[in-house]
């Protein structure tokens, strides 16, 4: 059932680039990444692609295929008709390094701003006791393979680079939620979620959830519950009175100094 697929692939670097046309053989059962590899091995040895596991586990091969953010290794060629021309471009939100490879360092910088897991100091390794139902939610978020497709898709930063300072993006707001819902974490990141990570910018459009290859319910299970918790925090009369008594008795945890 082999056929030749017509591809338009964005070639270029930070300076300039354009779509280039290729015809590449496609065999039964192949994914887009296979076809890009064949192109690389036969016609364009220097075509830049980022990939690693080829099994949807590492989150390296994010790109836009016919305008849709996807993992190239998990996109089967059979979802397109043989006549269709495939247009393959790099993720739009991040600066291009070369061809289909983008500079995703924004995400690593955001990760460093979030106060890390903070267990009670008296619990020693080996002493943690947590019930499965209490860790289910954090585990859902920890399925994240950091493909950054949600970051790429969220309209708050997709066409608004000016928001990048104030908004951590769905992946990292979800990281905040993951820690807040971790049964053994005692820090309180609600205030900084709003003030430093821009939870308020999210208007729950769910575009991030739609593109997540891990099918994590980012909006419903992480962002909306975080918004509810933040509201609870802001109108907590005790907090308003300036009391130190917050959830679990901890103080607000500040954003990490020097993290930016």
């Amino acid at each position: 059932m082999g056929y030749k697929a017509a591809l338009k692939i964005w070639r270029g670097d930070a300076g300039a680039g354009q779509l280039a046309d290729y015809d590449v053989e496609v065999n039964e059962g192949e994914v887009v990444l296979d076809v890009l590899h064949r192109l690389q091995a036969t016609q364009a040895t220097d075509l830049a692609i980022r990939w690693n596991c080829k099994a949807g586990k590492c989150g390296s091969c994010s790109m836009e295929i016919n305008g849709r953010p996807r993992l190239a290794c998990m996109t089967r060629m059979s979802v397109f008709s043989p006549e269709e021309t495939l247009t393959i471009t790099p993720m739009r939100t991040f600066p291009v390094i070369r061809d289909l490879v983008t500079d995703v360092s924004f995400n690593y910088a955001k990760a460093r701003e979030i106060p890390s897991f903070t267990p009670p100091p008296e619990v020693k390794p080996g002493e943690f006791r947590m019930r499965q139902e209490d860790v289910n939610r954090s585990q859902e978020f920890r399925k994240c393979i950091e493909c950054f497709l949600c970051q790429n898709t969220c309209h708050v930063i997709r066409d608004h680079a000016e928001n990048e300072g104030a908004f951590a993006g769905p992946r990292f707001l979800m990281r905040v939620a993951e820690l807040e819902m971790h049964p053994a974490d005692i820090a309180d990141r609600r205030e900084i979620a709003q003030d430093d990570f821009g939870l308020g910018y999210c208007n729950i459009t769910k575009c991030c959830t739609e593109v997540c290859p891990e099918h994590i319910k980012i909006t419903d299970n992480a962002l909306i519950p975080m918004k509810e918790r933040v509201v609870g925090r802001k109108y907590d009369p005790l907090v308003w009175l300036g009391s130190r008594i917050t959830r679990r008795g901890a103080k607000d945890t500040p954003a990490v100094p020097g993290g930016r």
Binding site: A41, S60, Q139, H182, G258
Partner: protein, 641 residues
């Protein structure tokens, strides 16, 4: 700009950001050393991310009878007693602490009913022992270590005003050469993938944590990173590789469609109840239980099925034999014409567990088969066959510190050798990464502390490394590196694969010789910036020398053991158990001049030998070796068949 070499200076440089590299780097930083972590891929995407089933540690959460001695025994049996016993001992003793430590750093493992870390069954492990998170345990481990690095950087930001003051990650950076001064490690040379600029890390201590060699084979579960870089770097720096003939073929890789051939199907499928059947519907593994394992494995399907619920009173199903046994059995079934339509056998969980249970325990397997093969594993069986998975051979190291024979060089994780003997048990790699990652980090830190002076990097060596790295780009004409890589993979797969023969391996060595000459003449188009063709050309140099080591060692070892099966020497020989095969490079020869030497295996401590029945030891060891043990002489007639 690309002509200028960027220079950094560190106390410890860790090459590799998988589980072992990150754990080593964390330890070096905790010891107060200024540490760099280097990785070919992005931070958090190293190969460890692909590990599925779990991490073995005798915590005894599901069966209180488990302890380090039982884990040690299982590990030695799995490796057919060729393991470095000291490594196996340290590993079994320290794995629980390393897992608990991860939990304190934020890992969220699956739980038991009483809130502890859950543990699952796996091939070769007597009790449920693998800490796990569904079937994405590697992701959890790498993410936890990544986040621990970040936590340390946050501390450093407070203390030094710079998060990268004490530990910095150089992602998408490839090391092509280690540099020495006065016979000691002095630095590491490489390039940044994004710009192609060269970089020199001046450092007295290098920890190799580069993973495996799977990309030298055509059908593999491994990714592009696994080109044996660390193995080759160590050789060129003067270190030795141990027992490179032992390459693990995982019994269950996907066989169809062709584009995913080799992709792993986790052993948890079998640990959780999945069974292997041939085209006649028969659970064929019952016919393949070798003598040494008979006492521990069920003889009937009924007993095997009872084992899942009542492991104390029943023996385990033969599907859970060590991997080498299962891989060979599948191979025999296919050869006998009882295979599945695409040349594998059937792995079925659909008739063994309810659909929702499959979805809960094996979500990523369900996803993988659904998305990539249109197979719903809750409704139909999978087709599976052997795939190149893991290399037991690797850099010879000191068990306690991870130090290689070259001062300042350390190795840990899949790139190191010895721990797993001739065959690794599933789940024993992730624990290996943590136990020896910490030890190598400590070892490197102590080495640096004890140094009176730091060796200088000779400038001539820097320019030489730069010249070698630039060659494929500068050569106006030559062969395509992808094509040569493809040929190499076919040679190894066809001639030094699962079942090996003298004549074929001799052919392989001849073919490798020819290919080496061509590999030295490849040329790539394009520039230095993110140019995969260039990257493949440079990796090829490492793959060639590693392939040579595997082929030479495989030809030399005239017996079958673990991940080395000889058609012409089908038996396991106690005499060969006493032999380690060691590869090194001839100091002055061309880069392919591998020399191979036999070296005696270290004698096991008596208290460890006494953990086994004498009758069992006699299946593996010679009478002289056992002479010192009580009762050794009386029973000498038993168990030697």
């Amino acid at each position: 700009m690309t002509d200028e070499i960027k220079r950094y200076s560190y106390d410890v440089v860790v090459i590799g950001a998988g589980g072992s590299g990150l754990r080593a780097a964390i330890e070096a930083r905790l010891q107060g050393k200024k540490t760099a972590v280097i990785s070919k891929s992005l931070f958090g995407k190293a190969h460890t991310v692909m590990a599925e089933g779990g991490c073995a540690a005798a915590m005894g959460n599901r069966n209180p009878r488990d302890n380090w001695q039982v884990h040690f025994r299982d590990t030695m049996r799995g490796g057919k007693f060729l393991n470095n016993w000291r490594m196996a001992e340290l590993h079994a003793k320290e794995a629980p602490d390393r897992v608990w430590e991860l939990e304190a750093w934020g890992a969220v493992f699956d739980r038991t009913a009483d809130g502890k870390i859950s543990q699952r069954n796996f091939g070769g492990h007597e009790y449920p022992r693998l800490a796990h998170v569904g079937d994405r345990t590697g992701l959890e481990i790498i993410r936890t270590l990544q986040q621990k690095v970040v936590a340390l950087q946050q501390e450093d930001a407070v203390e030094f005003g710079d998060p990268e003051a004490m530990i910095k990650v150089f992602a998408e950076t490839t090391i092509t050469e280690l540099l020495s001064g006065d016979g000691r490690i002095a630095g590491a040379f490489g390039y940044f993938r994004d710009t192609g600029q060269f970089v020199l890390f001046e450092t007295p201590a290098v920890v190799l944590a580069t993973g495996g060699i799977g990309k030298t084979y055509k059908v593999t579960s491994n990714s592009w990173e696994y080109t044996g870089d660390g193995h080759a770097l160590a050789l060129r720096a003067g270190a030795k590789l141990l027992n490179m003939e032992f390459v693990q073929l995982h019994p269950t890789g996907m066989v169809w469609p062709p584009s995913v051939r080799g992709l792993l199907v986790t052993e948890s499928v079998r640990g959780d109840g999945g069974v292997l059947r041939n085209s006649e519907g028969k659970r064929f593994m019952f016919s393949y239980v070798p003598d040494v394992f008979r006492p521990q494995y069920a003889e009937t399907e009924e007993e095997a099925d009872r084992w899942y619920a009542d492991p104390d009173n029943n023996r385990r199903p033969p599907e859970l034999l060590p991997r080498d046994e299962v891989a060979r059995s599948i191979n025999s079934e296919v050869k006998a014409g009882r295979g599945s339509p695409h040349g594998g056998v059937f792995l079925d969980v659909s008739t063994r567990l309810p659909a929702d249970e499959i979805m809960r325990r094996l979500p990523s397997m369900h996803h993988q088969f659904k998305e990539l093969a249109d197979v719903d594993i809750t409704k139909e069986p999978m087709e599976v066959g052997p795939t190149c998975h893991y290399v037991m051979g690797g850099v010879e190291v000191d068990p306690d510190t991870g130090a290689a024979s070259v001062p300042g060089l350390f190795a840990v994780g899949e790139v190191s050798g010895g721990m797993h003997g001739s065959n690794r048990l599933g789940g024993n790699s992730l624990s290996d990464l943590l136990v020896f990652g910490r030890r190598a980090g400590l070892g490197a830190a102590e080495y640096v502390t004890a140094l009176a002076s730091r060796p200088a990097v000779p400038e001539a060596a820097v320019s030489a490394a730069a010249a070698v790295a630039a060659e494929p780009l500068e050569r106006p004409e030559g062969e395509n590196p992808y094509a040569i890589q493809g040929e190499l993979q076919v040679i190894m797969h066809d001639l030094v694969g699962l079942i090996r023969r003298e004549s074929e391996m001799k052919t392989a060595l001849v073919e490798l010789d020819k290919l080496r000459a061509r590999a030295a003449q490849v040329s790539v188009g394009g520039g230095r910036a993110y140019n995969p063709g260039w990257h493949v050309a440079l990796d090829l140099r490492n793959m060639m020398v590693v392939a040579e080591c595997v082929a030479q060692a495989a030809l030399e070892r005239q017996e079958s053991r673990g991940g080395h099966t000889r058609d012409d020497y089908p038996g396991m020989s106690p005499e060969w158990r006493k032999v380690n095969l060691v590869c090194s490079l001839e100091p002055s020869g061309p880069s392919g001049a591998v020399s191979l030497r036999r070296q005696p295996t270290p004698a096991m401590r008596t208290d460890l030998l006494e953990l086994f029945d004498l009758a069992e030891l006699k299946k593996y060891m010679t009478d002289e070796e056992l002479a010192g043990l009580p009762g050794a002489t009386e029973t000498s007639a038993e168990g030697t068949h």
